[in-house]
């Protein structure tokens, strides 16, 4: 048991939880009838993907991604620096996700006012 690489367990855990989050979110989106729950599901999926993204960019024991003058060569050397791009992107994605959630919630409020219900299977005035 001493051979167990902690990092490996960690990465499995992170990847696993990312996939798990995505699946949970998917379940919520597809199965839950309440609008708010669906939106929560979407957020969970987002979170899962962000986690995944970060995990991909993370390199254990890496340094923080600050370029020096030899920045380029650092990359080509490979392993020492944590990839900064995913982190930057995830930040952006979180912001976007936030925006989407906000819009979605405002829509839910309006839908509730209009239909007096928040169950998605009852809001079907537009079809076919």
């Amino acid at each position: 048991m001493e051979n167990i690489d902690f990092n490996q367990i960690l990465s499995i855990a992170i990847y696993g939880s990312a996939v798990g989050l995505i699946l949970i979110g998917l379940y919520a989106v597809l199965m839950k009838k309440h609008l708010t729950k669906i939106i929560i599901g979407l957020s969970i999926i987002d979170a899962g993907i962000h986690l995944l993204f970060i995990a991909i960019g993370y390199i254990s024991n890496g340094t923080s991604p600050i370029f020096s003058e030899k920045g380029i060569s650092l990359v080509s050397e490979g392993t020492k620096m944590v990839d900064p791009v995913p982190q930057a992107l995830v930040l952006t994605a979180i912001v976007i996700g936030f925006g989407v959630t906000a819009v979605a919630l405002s829509l839910v409020i309006r839908l509730y006012r209009h239909h007096q219900t928040a169950r998605i299977d009852q809001i079907k005035t537009l079809k076919w």
């Binding site: 609008l35 003058e69 925006g99 819009v103 309006r110 839908l111 209009h114």
Partner: protein
């Protein structure tokens, strides 16, 4: 002032954020400013088009970071053509909606901001050379579309918007996931760079990424099982927004699909072509079948739009120069024709309950000009000569025939017959029957009339003299097909300025 592709994004975005302030200064400013902005962008795009024609692809590097690290804008004939088209349509939409929301200023402010953002998003999406920015612009489009769809409080806009949002958020999630996977494999976000490195990616991973991309962008491009949002959104959004969907959003989606399949994965021998043909075919058939049974004019137009996108997908799936030419031509035609149809159609159904077609009897006499525009659009969209739609259909069919896809030709033509049926039902109804009692006609605004006239003239001119546009489209088709050139151009900037020097600066 030196024009550059950056203006396409910077200027409208800036204007959009400045507009609340401007509105405080003078309420009329917020109506005028988008026009000025779009006119300026139109000027820019014309200049750039000419420059592209003479000098070739223009690469604009943002924030001093060159490819493959930095964010860059790639102005090829193809992207330039689409951007110009989008800006032109956007300008017409502005004209059309100039006085549309005079009821109170608050929505008008939001509306124009959102419209500018939508334009920004679409143009940015087309021009960007970076897959993550692609995603960002897609989200800009999506967010402004959600908001615009739900614009009217009194309609079912919210419902449509929610469906759109649900699917759209899904799309962006999948797209993001694809980007994540892609990045994990190739370690870059620049599309040209990705394209170069794509060979090394293992096939299963490549396929997964491709599928995620396809589904993610397919939602925007209204591919068949993913397009449930589209008819609702089209029909519930304010009519200029319907035009914007047809002319900007969907075009951006199709562009994305093309860029990803052609440039990133390569269309030849990859099985994507047949896949696109099949999915396009299914989309086409399903959409037209459904459109046939619609009772609401706007939903009918929406389904028709989906069908046209299916047609475009088919053409891109065939993938020869002729087919791509036809596809781009069709994108252009679809933008102007569907624009005209939405614009005139929404005047027609403005006061009818549920926008139902059956109330339109005899409008041909009450609203002669609008009806004429609508009929013109209907004739053009089903591809009857001598209008614009005919030529694109002809070229796609020619391409299909060159590929010996006779079944496909037959399918397209059969579907065209369905299309003819439902469009001519409406046209027929417009020109006979007595108008229902007490129906109030809405007088078109001057801006709207100008916009529609421009579109109608464009349809006629392109129909009679297609050569006016074929040169640009030819260039565009060559540029999308020639991946190597794209890569060379996009990465060529690297050779001019090495990254290190950049960093030092």
């Amino acid at each position: 002032m030196v024009v550059s592709p950056v203006h396409f994004i910077a200027v409208p975005l800036l204007a959009a954020f400045l507009m609340p302030i401007l509105a405080k200064v003078n309420k009329n400013l917020l109506r005028i400013v988008p026009g000025i902005v779009l006119t300026y962008l139109g000027y820019v795009s014309v200049v750039l088009m000419n420059r592209v024609a003479t000098e070739g692809t223009i690469i604009e590097v943002l924030a001093g970071w060159s490819a493959p690290w930095g964010i860059n804008l790639v102005y090829t004939p193809f992207t330039g053509f689409l951007a110009t088209l989008m800006i032109a349509m956007s300008f017409l939409i502005w004209l059309y909606s100039f006085k549309f929301k005079k009821v109170d200023d608050e929505p008008a402010l939001k509306y124009f901001i959102l419209q500018l953002m939508l334009t920004t998003g679409s143009v940015g999406l087309v021009l960007t050379g970076d897959i993550f920015n692609f995603f960002v612009f897609m989200e800009i489009i999506a967010l402004s579309s959600y908001a615009l769809t739900a614009f009217y409080r009194d309609r079912n806009g919210a419902e449509a918007a929610f469906k759109y949002l649900l699917i759209g958020a899904f799309a962006s999630t999948l797209f993001l996931l694809a980007i994540v996977l892609l990045y994990s494999q190739v370690g870059t976000l620049n599309m040209a760079e990705i394209s170069v490195r794509m060979h090394d990616v293992p096939t299963s991973m490549k396929v997964s990424i491709l599928v995620l991309f396809l589904v993610g962008i397919g939602i925007e491009a209204e591919m068949f099982p993913l397009n449930g949002w589209a008819p609702d959104a089209y029909s519930q959004a304010p009519s200029p927004v319907g035009v914007a969907f047809a002319a900007l959003v969907v075009k951006a989606g199709v562009y994305g699909l093309v860029r990803i399949t052609y440039t990133l994965f390569g269309i030849e021998g990859s099985g994507i072509g047949p896949f696109l043909i099949i999915m396009g075919g299914i989309t086409l058939v399903m959409a037209e079948i459904t459109a046939l049974k619609q009772t609401s004019l706007k939903r009918m137009l929406a389904y028709s739009s989906i069908g046209q996108m299916g047609f475009v997908l088919i053409a891109f799936g065939i993938g020869t120069h002729e087919a791509v030419f036809g596809a781009i031509f069709l994108m252009f035609n679809h933008a102007i024709i569907k624009g005209l149809l939405f614009m005139s159609g929404s005047y027609l159904v403005y006061n009818t309950p549920n926008k139902e077609i059956k109330y339109l009897s005899g409008y041909g006499m009450k609203m002669p000009v609008i009806s004429l525009f609508f009929s013109l659009g209907a004739l053009a969209i089903v591809g009857l000569p001598p209008f614009a739609g005919f030529w694109s259909k002809l070229y796609i069919l020619l391409a299909a025939a060159d590929g010996a896809l006779y079944g496909l030709i037959a399918l397209i033509l059969v579907v065209s017959i369905i299309e003819i049926v439902y469009y001519f039902r409406v046209v027929g109804r417009l020109y006979f029957g007595k108008p229902a009692e007490g129906s109030i006609m809405r007088k078109p605004t001057v801006g709207g009339m100008i916009a529609m006239s421009i579109l109608a003239i464009a349809i006629l001119v392109v129909g009679f003299y297609p050569d006016i546009i074929t040169g640009y489209i030819d260039a565009a088709a060559s540029s999308i097909l020639n991946t190597d050139e794209y890569i060379k151009n996009a990465l060529g900037a690297v050779n001019e300025l090495t990254p290190v020097e950049n960093i030092i600066q």
